[in-house]
Symmetry: C2
């Protein structure tokens, strides 16, 4: 691996984290490399920078494309493919969220729906369905929220984030005011 020290640290870290993030080492390293590169790189440059095989680069780029995490760019008078990451980190975040949802949440949601359609054949199944229904409800609530906020433009999303805490405090204040005029309180949950 032949890279400036700071870049190398970053690339190696992404490689190590790769497995925790559900991608592999090479994919992580390539992404990191492209992310900090001042201009698009072709496959051969990646081979040289990371010291891995050409075919590995090809497969890993393909995976990054499946994740929509890299863009393919063509330079004039050059037949080779050049790759880059989107500049906007917020856009990257959106893509990441969308793809992870697609891979990690949606399948479960659909399995839960399917199971909940069935008639329970025993008390054990009835109880299991009740639990799955709780899980299903939670996931639905989360995805509804997500579908909503993902539409936001970048600056508005940023505002919402920095506001997050303040909205909370507003809710708390409202709550206190409301509770003053209340005679009874219902707090128990099952």
């Amino acid at each position: 691996m032949n890279l400036p020290p700071l870049v190398q640290s970053f690339v190696l870290h992404f490689g190590e984290m790769g497995s925790r993030w559900g991608i592999n080492r090479t994919v992580g390293q390539i992404y990191a490399l492209l992310y900090v590169s001042p201009e698009p790189l072709n496959a051969e440059q990646i081979v040289e920078a990371l010291g891995i095989s050409r075919s590995n680069v090809s497969m890993s780029l393909r995976e990054l494309q499946a994740w929509n995490l890299v863009l393919l760019k063509h330079l004039p008078d050059d037949r080779r493919d050049f790759f880059m990451t989107p500049d906007d980190v917020w856009q990257i975040l959106r893509t990441l969220a969308e793809e992870r949802k697609k891979r990690e949440v949606d399948p479960t949601l659909s399995v839960l729906r399917e199971i909940l359609m069935q008639q329970p054949a025993s008390e054990a199944e009835r109880h299991a369905q009740a639990r799955m229904s709780e899980m299903h409800g939670l996931i639905e609530q989360l995805t509804t929220w997500y579908e909503d906020v993902k539409q936001l433009e970048t600056d508005r999303l940023a505002t919402l984030l920095t506001l997050g805490a303040k909205v909370t405090r507003l809710l708390e204040a409202k709550d206190k005011i409301v509770s003053l005029g209340r005679s009874k309180r219902t707090t128990e949950k099952g």
Copy 2:
């Protein structure tokens, strides 16, 4: 594997998804089993239900404990350990978020900080640092927001979620109004 059909579907699905979630098949299956079980299970019961080795169960339960996803329970006059998942799905969500952050985000944040402390030795490193700084800023903003909302009690968190969209619309409306009277600047931070 000897389970009611609906439970089995759920358990098998969690097993398959396990790898996408950064845990392995067995861990996923055990978690699913405990989640839908009406009462705590001991290791031997898990062995029977899933048809896997006793030692595998032991190691997988240990991992689930490292994730804080299962609770150990002792029954009177019984030396065996019984395991269960927390009832409250919101609490489970919190735990999951916390643990994933710890494993998947925090290490990167600290590596980024470390690299950003260094003096760039070339134009390439300077550019790389600028990119890393963007990433660092985004992650900080996200984690700040997260630290804030994770404190919320369950019902308040739920409110915030269902409100999510409305807060957005409110911001949009405010934005329009502000832009109408743009000659003077009305900032309402704080």
